[in-house]
Symmetry: C2
Subunit: 339 residues, 2 copies
DNA sequence: TCAAGTTACTTTAGCGATAAAGTTTGAGCG
DNA sequence: CGCTCAAACTTTATCGCTAAAGTAACTTGA
């Protein structure tokens, strides 16, 4: 293994002090042109690369961000990661990736790892509420920038947030079904987290706005998994008079719902129109392409990255911000909007 | 921002030397039980967390791996990342993620970033050959572990490799079509890289093994993009007597091919059976679920992580290994194998 | 009883860099 | 001609931690 080139070596070969080399590389103005040139030449000759670890130790800045997501198999989170990576890399930051597998214990270990590695900031991808409030407070208390994406738990952790307008998600989906002429509109609700509740609220608001009286049996408790949507839809199929449109709290649930509908020998969208939320990758390649309400995860990631880097790179602590990424409808076949 | 707890602080409060604290935390046996207990108590009281940056500087080991992939929107690479993350994290390593966007310049910048951050090892995800051989040699020359996944370029870079058996991919796909009773078997070739060539070789071998004489016009120059497959299929549709089966070099190309077939008012698989390669996520949710030859990317990632960590954590330099991940057929509707 | 070990620590040095506080040299000036 | 000052460097201290080399106090053994 070849010896690495350090400032010491450069300084040694030139007979100058290490500090002189450091100053040249940091563009200080108290070094003469001749010396500067000699140092630069040596740097090029030896292919010197600064040791970021040493630099981090003195500067107390690692130029590294951490990101914790619950799952990498879901395109959702990957797109967020991609967004963060793009801005981090463009600004010269590294990105330490952690995948918590939806496990609070692992999330805790991940946050620990990031903390020990002295990252300058942490992006926390959406996950179910977990008991790691203490860690988060600790992190942000120690000057580590923190951004939470799509999370409204940990209300007392002071940090920036990038969230979706879930109320609007529910409203857009439901209003779209109304526009398609559907009137018996069911909702497959998600799990007991704010996102899902807000989407349900949006559903109710849109119904009210359209002057439709919501039947209580139109709302089926479901979940975010395909199986949840399937089971919920089975139950909704028993409701009389028959449902003619469903808004599922997310896309996997909507896919489950479609499977249940087909099993009952009904057609999508002719008999029942389906709308999901979240726009999973390849959602447009399904047997019946799925209409969904979407928002850019990549933008969420980018905004998160920007929030955090701005906070890190500007001195005085500014107010914590909350960026709302607006959703939009992606009309496809399952709602009858597209032939 | 609260003061961070360092060994110095602990030592100070207890009136012992910093080294004593260090020794306790590193489980050295030349510290008395009483002192050990006092230190441990203080560590717990102050919630001390070691500073990995300082540790890395002295130990010359960052306990961090880097991974460079060309694209995060392709599930392919994400799964590899997930595999590497899993083993890295399980063994206490962090993972620095870089996405080169298929751009050799960015790849170079990424490798630079990883090098400066002194990562212990680098996993290089598949990408087109690029001119960064010098960087790679440099890295591995400086004792950084290097694993290349699915890359056979840079033949003179000495490192571990995890590859797929592309020849077998081509053979499996083609033999499967033969088993389905197809005889006029076209191949949509990929771009001019070894993987694609080997898959084409496998196609030829399987035809020969089945005693089928391959017509030259059965092989259409294509690519790895959906549009490539679409265009290639358009051309293949003009071949007489009509093709009754196609093996596309990868799944996106196969999807493009199916679109072209449908546009020609033909059916998949009744008129033309289609087989892809790579098993993209959700491939089973397509209008006509796609038969494909697949292999576990997650396993590729895991194996890569293991190779690299083993190399890092064992002293003497062992021989460079080459791990071959075997492919297997995933039979779905597009080849007529499943109803 | 005293040299030779142990035991349980402490001191010193160094990882590779930066920042703050010197030091030397020559110029400018009254 | 001596004094001040700026320019161009160097020295010293430090970041937080570990490894190697001390060093006291206490055993041990012949």
């Amino acid at each position: 293994m070849a010896r690495t080139t350090t400032m010491k070596r450069i300084a040694g070969q030139l007979g100058v002090s290490i500090t002189t080399v450091s100053k040249v590389l940091n563009n200080r103005d108290d070094i003469g042109d001749a010396t500067r040139a000699r140092v630069l030449a040596k740097v090029a000759e030896l292919g010197y690369q600064p040791n970021a670890v040493a630099r981090s130790l003195t500067l107390r800045r690692t130029h590294t961000l951490g990101i914790v997501v619950p799952d990498l198999m879901h395109s959702f989170f990957v797109e967020i990661v991609a967004g963060v990576e793009a801005v981090a890399s463009a600004r010269g930051y590294g990105l330490l990736l952690c995948c918590s597998n939806e496990d609070p214990k692992k999330e805790r270990a991940d946050l620990d790892l990031l903390r020990q590695r002295q990252v300058d900031g942490v992006v926390l991808g959406s996950a179910n509420a977990s008991g790691n409030t203490d860690m988060l407070k600790d992190l942000s208390g120690h000057g580590v920038g923190l951004v939470m994406i799509d999370r409204d738990d940990h209300p007392d952790v002071r940090c920036d947030r990038v969230v979706t307008d879930d109320l609007e998600v529910g409203r857009l989906a439901t209003a779209h079904l109304v526009e398609q002429g559907r009137r018996a509109l069911a909702h497959i609700a998600g799990p007991a987290i704010v996102h899902a509740r807000r989407r349900a609220d949006g559903y109710r608001e849109a119904l009210a706005a359209a002057g439709i009286r919501a039947h209580t049996e139109w709302i089926a408790r479901g979940g975010f998994m395909e199986a949840d949507g399937y089971r919920a839809m089975k139950r909704l199929l028993g409701v009389k008079p028959r449902i003619d449109g469903v808004f599922a709290a997310n896309d996997p649930a909507a896919i489950g719902a479609m499977k249940a509908i087909w099993e009952a020998r009904l057609r999508v969208p002719e008999d029942i129109a389906v709308v999901g939320a979240g726009d999973i990758a390849l959602g447009d390649l399904l047997r019946v392409p799925l209409t969904t309400v979407s928002w850019s995860r990549e933008e969420q990631g980018r905004r998160a990255g920007e929030l955090i880097l701005d906070r890190i790179e500007t001195e005085g602590a500014s107010k914590f911000r909350r960026v709302i990424v607006p959703p939009h409808l992606v009309a496809r076949r399952s709602s009858g909007a597209v032939a």
